[in-house]
């Protein structure tokens, strides 16, 4: 047996032992994905969720946690962050698994019709049913339009700070005007040799505490603040050596600023990403599904629910995602338990049996005679 074959077999055994297995693999932990866990749980199906963001909630927690939503049935008003909390609480008893901070990258259909989904970090998930509840896609950093920026990615340009230690005793330039630019400038002022914060305006959109802290550090000379200005170029040879700064005040002028790292922090924007290459029918940046039946895609066993799908009359509403998730679970049950009988049950009548051993049920009516 060749050396390579041995490695293959080791990989196979490793995957078999360590691969995450579940009934329904949900891609996207937004409101639709979280409610799927509950509906699947009622059918005794277990779920695991993958999300590129480090926390559950999707757009609700990433973009607008403090904003109210007015069209969730029975909630005249609920904050998006609170909706996420309640959905997590509602599905908790069904013990969903989470792979957070990883993006679903590839899908491989097995001979037996099941799927293996691998993330960008190599985590493998095995399930008979995949439900894509990916919203507008996975959140990717917004890259400033500097013509040669891609040449320097991971060579001094980082859009996300993973390990602050790599900046120790280095010269760092941060660009951006929101909380992450402020917070990282503050944090790195203690780590890096030099921190420069560049923003197109003198005003910053962040927590008051952070803005005041940056002001204080600037006064102490620990943060070099250049505003209003922007980075318009990168200079270097295989590695970042300097950035070109264009200053806007009074007379426009450009100058080079020496640095080892350039960290543009302009927030995240959703991109359909690798899912677009999974062989699914795509229309209008969304996945086409069969809405007359069960929201299945053109690949049997893969469903698309919530904002990520499209069909005639589609509305991108959270409440529509809940409905789609519910119908989808009934269809998934048939794939996972072929031929096994089941009828829809009402939670008020049957109660809810959690996988964690808990049981919720309506209190029994008191029967007592009156004498």
């Amino acid at each position: 047996m060749s050396h390579y074959h041995q490695i293959d077999i080791i990989n196979l055994v490793f995957n078999f032992i360590f691969m995450i297995t579940t009934d329904i693999l949900i891609i996207g932990a937004g409101p639709t994905g979280l409610f799927t866990v509950f509906e699947a749980g009622l059918l005794k199906l277990k779920c695991h969720l993958i999300d590129a963001l480090p926390q559950a909630g999707g757009q609700c927690s990433e973009i607008y946690p403090k904003k109210p939503i007015y069209d969730i049935p029975a909630y005249p008003e609920i904050l998006a962050g609170d909706l996420t909390e309640r959905l997590l609480e509602q599905c908790k008893q069904f013990e969903p698994g989470f792979t957070l901070g990883e993006r679903a990258e590839t899908i491989d259909k097995q001979d037996d019709g099941t799927f293996i989904v691998t993330t960008n970090k190599g985590t493998k998930h095995h399930a008979p049913v995949v439900a894509i509840a990916g919203g507008l896609g996975s959140f990717e950093p917004r890259k400033p339009k500097i013509h040669n920026i891609t040449d320097f990615e991971d060579k001094g340009v980082e859009y996300i700070i993973k390990d602050p230690e790599i900046y120790r005793d280095k010269k760092v330039v941060i660009a951006g005007g929101g909380d992450s630019a402020l917070d990282w400038s503050i944090f790195l002022s203690d780590v890096a040799a030099e921190v420069t914060l560049i923003h197109r305006r003198t005003e910053f959109r962040g927590h008051l505490d952070s803005v005041e802290k940056v002001q204080e550090l600037k006064n102490k000379g620990k943060i070099n603040l250049i505003t209003p200005a922007e980075v318009v170029g990168i200079v270097g040879d295989h590695k970042v050596k300097a950035v070109v700064v264009k200053q806007a005040q009074h007379i426009e002028k450009e100058f080079e600023l020496n640095c080892d790292h350039f960290i543009p922090l302009f927030g995240l924007s959703p991109k359909l990403g690798p899912i677009a290459n999974w062989g699914l029918e795509i229309e209008k940046n969304a996945i086409k599904v069969n809405n007359a039946l069960d929201y299945q895609t053109n690949i049997s066993g893969i469903y698309a629910i919530g904002d990520v799908n499209t069909y005639p009359g589609k509305l991108k509403l959270i409440l529509c995602g809940f409905h789609e998730a519910t119908l989808m679970c009934q269809s998934a049950y048939q794939i996972i338990n072929p031929g096994k009988r089941f009828v829809l049950k009402y939670t008020t009548v049957s109660g809810v049996d959690g996988f964690d051993g808990t049981r919720k049920e309506a209190p029994k009516a008191v029967v007592k005679s009156i004498e």
């Binding site: 973009i63 607008y64 896609g137 959109r205 302009f266 924007s269």
Partner: protein
């Protein structure tokens, strides 16, 4: 019903001019008008839903039409957006009103 539509011109990202009628009685903003006429692919405009939090509806105002003044959140978002010019606005922050007859805007490139 009284006709409350106004005539405006939108230049899409491919440079094509569209002369369209925009309703002013449906609480629609410019981003929503663009979406209702499908002048930019879904998923590339109005990504945040109209909260001035993504800049995917950025446009350049080419006419001297009087528009609502820019609020702090729009200004803050534009300060972090790309391809911003002096005449940049976020479509989602421009509510359509009868006074905007003749408005001409160009959609900024997708970012």
């Amino acid at each position: 019903m009284e006709n409350v539509d106004i005539n405006i011109t939108i230049i899409d990202r491919e440079g094509e001019k569209h002369h369209i009628e925009a309703p002013t009685d449906m609480a629609m903003n410019l981003m929503e008008v663009v979406r209702s006429y499908e002048l930019a692919p879904e998923g590339t405009i109005g990504v945040c839903g109209g909260m001035a939090m993504c800049a995917s509806c950025q446009c350049y105002v080419l006419s001297d039409t009087k528009l609502p003044e820019m609020q702090d959140d729009e200004e803050a978002m534009l300060s972090e957006a790309f391809d911003v010019k002096d005449n940049s606005r976020l479509g989602c922050q421009i509510q359509m009103t009868p006074g905007m007859e003749g408005l001409v805007v160009e959609l900024a490139p997708e970012s």
